[in-house]
Amino acid sequence: MVDLRANWRVILLVVMLLVSTFALFSPTMAPEAAAEDQATNLVYGLQLSGGTRIRAPLEGYVAAGVDVPTNPDAQERLEERIADSLNGTFPTDVQARPQGTYGASGPGTVEVTDPNVTREGFTAALDAADVAYDDGEVYRGVSDQTREETVQVLRNKVNQAGLSGGSVQSVSVATAQEFFILIEVPGEDRSDVVDLIEDRGTVRIDVGPVMQNGSLSRERRRAVLSQDDFRDIGTATESQQSSGYYVPVSIRDSVAPGFQQTMVDTGVAGPGGSRCAVRDNDWRNASDPCLLLVVNDEIVNAFGMDDGLAADMRNGDWAQNPRFRLTTGNFSSAQEIAINLRAGALPAKLDLTGPDGGTSSFISASQGESFKQNSLITGLIAVLAVSGVVFLRYREVRVAAPMIVTALSEVVILLGFAAAIGYPLNLSVIAGFIAVIGTGVDDLIIIADEVMAQGEVRSRKVFQSRFRKAFWVIGAAAATTIIAMSPLAVLSLGDLQGFAIFTILGVLVGVLLTRPAYGDILRALLTDDR
């Protein structure tokens, strides 16, 4: 009869193996990203499944620690002043924000996202606009908000293009205040992904149906506002006065009077404003004249106008301060309106080509598949080589076979872990698995040699003391491996992070779980007293 208490380490290992197997194969644990036809729940990274990955910084400069006025109007004047002293930069490419948004330094930031602006040009423009700033606080990059908006826009683009499994995220470099945008799209060519990112639509605002001679016609007036007419397009903001969300927009002074007149003429700014209730998604059925947001010749949103704004337009006050809010019921549609207004243009551009640019990689589906198979073969052959040497050395199946089985079980547990958390497997992770087998078998050799040294192991007491001695060396070796690998696990050195993480995990699993269990197995096989 096997003593359960004495063999609890083996039992724990078996339980962990079962849990890992469950995580690997159970359909209930299947991650969304995994394809239906897969036998396991493992998620494969782009290297093994094919696709494109682009990692690039956003272009722009930020001056932190600038005293930015809190009044929105004053902010916009400031943005305009700065844009004016930069040749060919639109005011929409300059953002002034009153709160500290870049790193820890406050109180406000000014940023420019026009890729043609140099650092010198930016600081000269700040000087020209009488902005006080600290030269040491002018950074390459963009503010947190702009970065988040850019990620949002990119996500929308990837989703709208129907690219399943695509992801966009912002990643930071641990050593510097540097951020990258990481875009991963399975199954697409690099050029397709770049086209998608850089694709910029056209946006305009139409009015329809318009009032003609006091009655609602079925006409629409096109392009009452076009892309260049906007001075500033804000971000989705929660309304303070009422429930709901809005996107603040301001219009260039030069076009404001004309736009105001058009609003009055077409009846949008009629007495009492317009309610714009659109039936059946057709503007022709609207009860009142509407402002229509048109992206790539397709109407994406319709807006009415509230009473107060309409009154300002009629008496001509509005053009003095030409701004309005596009209001909507929920945050996500407000966000979408902001994105639509920019015609899918990114708030800041990705630097794909410059020397400061990031990295990009593309792997075709067939190449990924062959990497997958070949790395599996490589790993298996490495395991066979290890087994061969171990058998030759010990000549005893009782010692060597559990060794191989134990080392392999480490890999099973790690695979189960990867499947459970949905960690994408890449070549570097597979290299980590091979490293784990290597260190694992090394340590099992230490245990076996120590336990079998100096003659037969008869009693359990002798076994325990020898096993404990062996464990000191193993613990020390494990600690050095973990120390050696930890820089890689923290630094963002591309794929090597996965390699380091899985090597460290493997060592931990080994020391805490599999090696003690191997000790128990060996004891059961070698000692007489149970």
Partner: protein
Amino acid sequence: MVDFDVPEVDYTRYTNRQLAAVPLAVLAVALLIIAGWTVATGVPVDRGIDFTGGTELRLGEVPAPDDGGRADIREAFSASPESIQYVGTTGLYVVTFDDEVRASQLDTEANEAGFSVESQDTVSGNFGDDSQLLALGGVAVAFVGMSVLVFAMFRTFVPSIAVVISAFSDIVIPVALMNVLGIELTLGTVAALLMLIGYSVDSDILLNNHILRRSGDFYESTYRAMRTGVTMTLTSISAMIVMTIVASLVGIELLSSIGIVLVFGLATDLMNTYMLNLSLLRWYKFEGVAR
């Protein structure tokens, strides 16, 4: 059947000086190679595109090298490739360009020539510089961390420094060999160097442990430590040799470069542990302690 057992070396025949001379001489030669390389090329070791920036393409549907595939590739691109490698088992060419060349242009030219682009990796120059700094910093931190840990574990100077010196040599000699054999420093080889720190210390710790913490004759302890340690290292070496061969046959560069550097490092470790480290320990045990 092959008989595999660790032979017993009669260490009494050699003095400490004799034992230490060989590994120290090899280390000196390695340092000279690296120094010479730095003088000649400006960097201690040739760097791959991970660190210099550049583009690596894997091209399919290109004629075999015997049918003028290489010439076709040179003709297809307006920029001249830095290297063209043919991977026979997969029938693909691995072509690298420096970081002056734009990835989108290479894409277009490859498609126009009728090649299929199976994979493409682009790293921009400054990004490569950043990575290099990170990688060097990582290796340095790992090494210092390991040294501190070793000193904390043994708490005596000579045995600890013996481990640290042989770990240092285990990294330096493979780097020199990389220069001699034309293996570039990539993220994979950096990973291998870091792994060497972890791997190589294992057998040193084992030896120290057996000699310092166990009762019994010095030579007997040494032999027991060697039996285990040499088995460990040989097992790892054989796994890595096989991995290197298979991975380079099927063209998985990451795995083959990790493999080859580990083979060098582990072989170096055999020498360092059982000659350099051992001689220092013997001096410490028989003369150092007595002082």
